[in-house]
Symmetry: C2
Amino acid sequence: MTGSARAFAPASVSNIACGFDILGFALQSEADDSPGGPGDVVTATQGVRDGRAGPCGPVRITAIAGDDGRLPLQTGRNTAAVAAAALLEAEAPDASVDLEIEKRMPLESGLGSSAASAVAAVVAVDALLGLDLPPATLLRHALAGEILASGGAHADNLAPALFGGLVLVRSLEPEPDVVELPVPEGLTCALARPHTHVNTRESRSTLDRDLPLERAVTQWGNAAALVASLYRNDLELLSRSLVDVVAEPVRGPNVPGFYDAKQAATEAGALGCSLSGSGPAVFALCDGRDRAREVAAAMAAALEHALGVDCDRLVSPLPAPGARVIEAGRDAGGG
Amino acid sequence: MTGSARAFAPASVSNIACGFDILGFALQSEADDSPGGPGDVVTATQGVRDGRAGPCGPVRITAIAGDDGRLPLQTGRNTAAVAAAALLEAEAPDASVDLEIEKRMPLESGLGSSAASAVAAVVAVDALLGLDLPPATLLRHALAGEILASGGAHADNLAPALFGGLVLVRSLEPEPDVVELPVPEGLTCALARPHTHVNTRESRSTLDRDLPLERAVTQWGNAAALVASLYRNDLELLSRSLVDVVAEPVRGPNVPGFYDAKQAATEAGALGCSLSGSGPAVFALCDGRDRAREVAAAMAAALEHALGVDCDRLVSPLPAPGARVIEAGRDAGGG
């Protein structure tokens, strides 16, 4: 049996200020909702079972493009391979696959690069093998890759990369429990990414292991209120809820230019602004695309001025679509 | 100027499992939605400014009924008086009032007794003086009484006692920010209260001051999901979200019979069950009144069996109405 399947999974913003490890939304390019990016494309091809050993035995990475040579081809260190291997082990123990990864997004920028790889891999492998697994099962296997990348089990990038939109991950136990939330019309993400990097695994390790109860109460008040604001179409409540008292106070001072960008976003009329994941990308939620363009420009200018490096900007209409198969054919690929 | 105003404020269930200090709902009797209880009635009468000193100078408690003599007449120790004094100091510094308090609910049972007193007091005084203060202002003054009773600033009993229904208190700073949440049709509270007591101030002091980050994430995932479940009319999600990993694990073992009642509620088909506030009352949320009656009976039987004391039960349709003026007249009372 030969064939191949290609899948795209989008970049995403996790935490959304008040929802550390539980909230995230998918991103798309304003100009183009085709799978041009930001995100990952993974092509899965039937592999030859040749008795390969190693941590991801039946999975091989044959090529990686768009990463400037920074991602590991070794399967045990590659999130896409680990996710694909978890899927094969549980669902198709006799199969083997080769993966080609094309990064259409930056690495270590707080935009869910590892999640996009893991999700695109499981979606591609699922399509290749015709398994048609339920989304919760795909998410569970993709989680294996994310744990490798970040050192912790969290799905606030994985779930939006898979489902699209703005999602809540209530819990991962006993099964991933994902709630797709409504998005008020016109809500738009402005994003600025300086050409610097943050290692997620290291960034997570700097967070306090314990949280004062009072601060935790503040956080769950804001997380609950943010959800309510989405259902109520209440942008004022949303704005008041976009406060992070858990991760931002620890990570913010370590992300050069962050507070400049946040101030610029506020002055340009953003509803709220925080780090995207662990940064250095900074996101803001805005009422309307025009406002989001102004906010993205203001944040990018502030970061460029503070850091002296180039800064990408993105305006992403919400909700953005999630992962999808973009090409599948039993006879389309090599094998 | 003479006159009087009487106000009722209902008992309430705070926390709702996953919403420590931020979520609560008002209670009512199934048989009767008039102000028969459970709750407090406070009658405010124009007082004579006689140069009284003391912590609540212009406020005097003239009578308390229904408390078996357990509540203090001394104004500085009485939540209704402290709340009324806070209101007068800020809004009507030249006025003085006498308060009569009638408890139509048990004390120290986890049903928001102090909140009902404080809310009924500010609503009665507001009506007496014709101030027509905004609800957020009333809540802020009532908070002064609650801080006295519990030793901490939280409004998850105050807000439902004032507004009725099921409410989220996002934050108390800079102003109380209360969101009224929708209640799925048929959602009903079953409640069982053994004739034992818990002191809220002592109960709060037993809680851990710090929370492991992982457990805090679980809590805000559940709190956010509970809010989503109310908007989605999704009782399965609501049921999965009714988990308390913060207060219940600390307080539950100290409330005799709690785990028996919880098991009985689960077996009788409750959607979820936890302590009401700091207990000893136990609440369960149920789909429909018939189910709630069965659950209340099962919980009460379990508590009576475990404790060997009598146990009240209540079935409260939701949403229940909040505080209201039940009698007001410039010439109706003495002065």
